[in-house]
Symmetry: C2
Subunit: 430 residues, 2 copies
C-alpha cells in the first residue's frame, strides 16, 4: 500500500486534532482509499505542553525545516500571516504539497501562494479554511461544478453565532454573553477577529473567489460586525418574524459580484435562521441545483481536523494516482472584474430610530423615505421609552438602493428628531 | 484543452436535463477545470418528442451501441434494472467510463457492475443516485473520509416528503394529497416505489455500503412506507412536539449495522424536521466532524443533472490527469459482516391504541408494558371517539427493544380491548 508522509507545523488545538485523527483513523482511511497516511513529524516551538494526544516523543521537533524535509505533505497550522506564509513558501519551494486551514493568509496572500505552487507543481489544499468540518470547498468546486452560482449565504463564525443564539435565548446583552463566551473558551481574549466580522470576511473572500474564478482578496469585502448589536434590535426583529445572524452574502447580479458580511435579518422559518450555537451553515444556490445547504461544526479541534485530513487524503490520492494538481489550488475562471460597491447594492432594510415623542415625527420620516422611493413594508412603534424619553420606531423597507437609504437617513438627521444614531441593518429573505 | 466525449443513453427528464446542462454550462466547467465536455450522442427509442432542449438533430440516435461507441463517458439514464444493466455492462466491456443515477440497479446489482468496472479499469460514478443534486456521496467518501461514521439520517424521497408536508400543513389525508400530487406530477401513476419506501431503501443501502465498506444489497434494509399513515397520527405527533418523516436510518452499534426506512417521529426543533416539500436532507455523524447536514433538491430535471454532470466532470478530470480509478466505484473496507435484525434494535416508540372506553383498559395496557420493562415517557388520551366508539390512546415510550414491544402488543391484543390494530411508529431524537 502506498504510504504518504505527513508533517505538521503548529501543534496547537487543530494540530493536536489532526495528529489524533491520523493516529486514530488512518487505518480506516487506508481501507477506504488504499493510501496510508503516516505522521512523520510535528514541529512547534513548544513541544513540552501536553496536548491530550499520545504522540511518540521522537516525532516532535522545534525545527519546522525538519518537518518540511521529512514529509510529502506539509500541514501548516501555525496561523497568522507572517511565519505561516514563510513556512508554506518554503515547503512549496522544497517541492512539498501543502494543506492549510489559514483563511486570513489565503484571503490576503492566496495569489502569491498559488502562483508558487503552480511553479513548483505541487498541491495546496485549504478545505478547513472555510466552515471548519463542513466540506464546502469540495462541494462548491466539485459537487456543484456544473452550476453557475447566483448566491451564497454563510453563517461561518461559531463565536458570533454562539453569542447571538445566547442573546436571543436568554435575553442577555452582547457584552455579558461575550464575557461568558470568553470564560468558556468560545471566544478569544481579543475577540475582534471574530466579532468584528473579519474572520467571516476572510472566508467570504475565499468562497467568492472559488465561485467566480478571480482571487478577490480582502478589499472588495464589506464588513460590519456584531459588536454594536443591541438586545432590543433582536427583540424587534423577533417580533417582525426575523432572526439576526452575522451573515456572509455573496451575490452575482448583472455581472457584478457583491461580497459583504454584516448582521442580517433573515426569516425565522428558513433553515439558515435555525442554525444555532457554534454551528455553521452555508447556503449555495446554483442555476442547475437550486438551493443547497451545508451544515456542521465550523471550528474546534476534531471537526477542523476532519477537513484537514480530508485534504491530506486528497493529496495522498493524487500522489498515489500520479495526478498531482488534478484540481489546482486555484484556477482563474469566469473573471468577474466588477465588484459592486456597498452604495450600489439593493436590499431590504431594518431601520430603528429613537425619536422625540412629539407630533409630526412619523410623518416627517415617512415623507423623506417616500421622496426617495423607499417603500415601507412594516413598522413598529410601541409605547416604550428609552432612558432619555426617546421612543423606538422600527421600520422595515421593501427593496431600496443603499445610497438612497443613507441619503434619506442623512436628511432625517438634519431634523434633529433622533435622540441617538439610527440603527441600520439589512434584510435577506433567502 | 482536453476534450472528453459524453454520450447519454435515455433522453427522458434527467437525460434532457443533462444535455441542457452540458450545452449551457460546459464553458464554465471548462474554465473551472481545464476540461471540455462535448456531447457526442444521445440515444433513446423515442427521438422525436420535444424534450424542451435544443439538441442538434444529428446527435440523436435510437441505437445505444452508437452512443457507447462514440463516447469516452457513457451516461446511463434509462432507469430500471434490466436494459440499463445491459447497457452499463456493454459500455464497461467496451472500456468506457459510466455515470449513472440508477439507485435501484446499484443497490441490487452494484457488486457485479463494480467488479466488471474493476476488471475493465474504468470509472463508474453515481452521485445522482442518492439525494439528487446534493453532493452527498462525494461528501461521505471524500469530505468526511477521515471519520468513522456512527449515524446517517436521510429524508431522501421528495414525493413522500411533499405528501407529508401537505398532510401536515393542510390537514388533508394521505389519499387526497397523493391524488393531487399525481395530478401535479410530483408522484408517479404507480407511486409504490416512492410511498412504500423502496426508493428510499435503495438509497439507504448505497449510503450504508459507502459508510461501512461492504456492498449490502437490499436484503438487510427494513422498509415501511407511508401508505398507512393516518392524519390523526400526524396530529398526535404534533401535539407531542414531533413531526413525522419517512426517514432512512443507518446506525452502527456494537459492530452491527442497522439499515431501516420507516415513518419516524423526530423533534420539531431539529433541522431535519424542518426539511419540507420535495427537498431532501441527509444528516451524517462522524467521530471527528460531529453532526453535519446536507440539504437540497433530491430529484427533478436540473438538480439531478447537476450531480450527473459533476460525476462526468470528475471522470473527465481523471481522464485528463491520467488518474482513472483514483477513487474506485466501490472499495470494500471495514466489512461489517453483522447486520442488526429489526427485532434486535432498540428505539423509542409511538403506540396508538384505539380502545374500548371501559374501566381498567389503561391499567391493563400499562401493566403489560411495565412487565416487559417498557417505560412510558408520555401519554395522550383525549375525549375523542372513533366511529365505532373507540378512544384513541397514544403512548410514547422510552428506549425499548423492538421484540419486547411487539411481544407486549401481541399480549395486549389478546385482551380484546383494541378496536383496531395498534399503530406502531419509531421515534428518533437525533
Amino acid at each position: 500500500m502506498k504510504e504518504v508522509k505527513v508533517g505538521i507545523i503548529g501543534f496547537g488545538t487543530v494540530g493536536a486534532g489532526v495528529a489524533e485523527n491520523i493516529l486514530k483513523n488512518s487505518e480506516v482511511v487506508a481501507k477506504r482509499t488504499g493510501v496510508k497516511l503516516v505522521l512523520t513529524r510535528i514541529a512547534d516551538l513548544d513541544i513540552t505542553t501536553d496536548r491530550g494526544v499520545a504522540v511518540p516523543r521522537e516525532l516532535l521537533t522545534t525545527d519546522a525545516a525538519v518537518a518540511i524535509r521529512e514529509s510529502d505533505i506539509v500541514v501548516e497550522l501555525v496561523g497568522g500571516t507572517t511565519i505561516a506564509k514563510k513556512f508554506i513558501l518554503e515547503a512549496i519551494s522544497a517541492g512539498k504539497h501543502v494543506v492549510t486551514a489559514n483563511k486570513a493568509l489565503l484571503a490576503l496572500h492566496g495569489k502569491e501562494i498559488f502562483d508558487a505552487a503552480e511553479k513548483a507543481g505541487v498541491d495546496v489544499c485549504y478545505e478547513a479554511s472555510v466552515a471548519g468540518g463542513i466540506p464546502i470547498i469540495k462541494a462548491l468546486r466539485e459537487g456543484l461544478v456544473s452550476n453557475r452560482i447566483s448566491r451564497i449565504y454563510g453563517i461561518m463564525n461559531g463565536t458570533c453565532n454562539y453569542i447571538l443564539t445566547r442573546m436571543e435565548n436568554e435575553g442577555a446583552d452582547f457584552h455579558t454573553v461575550l464575557a461568558d463566551a470568553q470564560k468558556l473558551g468560545y471566544a478569544e481574549a481579543n475577540p475582534s477577529l471574530d466579532i468584528d466580522g473579519f474572520d467571516t470576511a476572510h472566508k467570504t473572500s475565499i468562497l467568492a473567489s472559488l465561485a467566480f474564478g478571480r482571487w478577490f482578496g480582502m478589499d472588495p469585502v464589506f464588513v460590519e460586525g456584531i459588536r454594536d448589536l443591541a438586545l432590543d434590535d433582536l427583540r424587534y426583529a423577533d417580533e417582525l418574524g426575523y432572526r439576526i445572524k452575522l451573515l456572509a452574502i455573496i451575490k452575482s447580479n448583472n455581472g457584478k459580484v457583491q461580497m459583504r458580511v454584516h448582521p442580517t435579518l433573515i426569516p425565522k422559518s428558513t433553515l439558515l435562521a435555525n442554525i444555532s450555537d457554534v454551528f455553521n451553515g452555508v447556503m449555495v444556490e446554483g442555476d442547475a441545483v437550486g438551493q443547497t445547504l451545508f451544515y456542521g461544526r465550523g471550528a474546534g479541534r476534531s471537526a477542523t481536523a476532519s477537513a484537514v485530513v480530508a485534504d491530506i487524503t486528497d493529496v495522498a490520492l493524487n500522489i498515489a494516482a500520479g495526478s498531482v494538481r488534478r484540481i489546482p489550488a486555484f484556477r482563474p475562471g469566469e473573471q468577474f472584474e466588477q465588484v459592486a460597491a456597498i452604495d450600489d447594492i439593493s436590499s431590504r432594510y431594518y431601520l430603528r430610530f429613537m425619536v422625540k415623542d412629539c407630533p409630526g415625527v412619523l410623518a416627517s420620516i415617512t415623507q423623506i423615505l417616500a421622496d426617495r422611493g423607499i417603500s415601507i413594508s412594516s413598522l413598529i412603534q410601541h409605547e416604550r421609552y428609552g432612558a432619555d424619553g426617546a421612543v423606538p420606531l422600527v421600520i422595515l423597507t421593501h427593496k431600496a438602493n443603499e445610497r438612497e437609504v443613507r441619503n434619506a437617513l442623512g436628511e432625517i438627521d438634519t431634523l434633529s428628531i433622533n435622540q441617538s444614531p439610527v440603527k441600520l441593518m439589512r434584510i435577506e429573505d433567502i
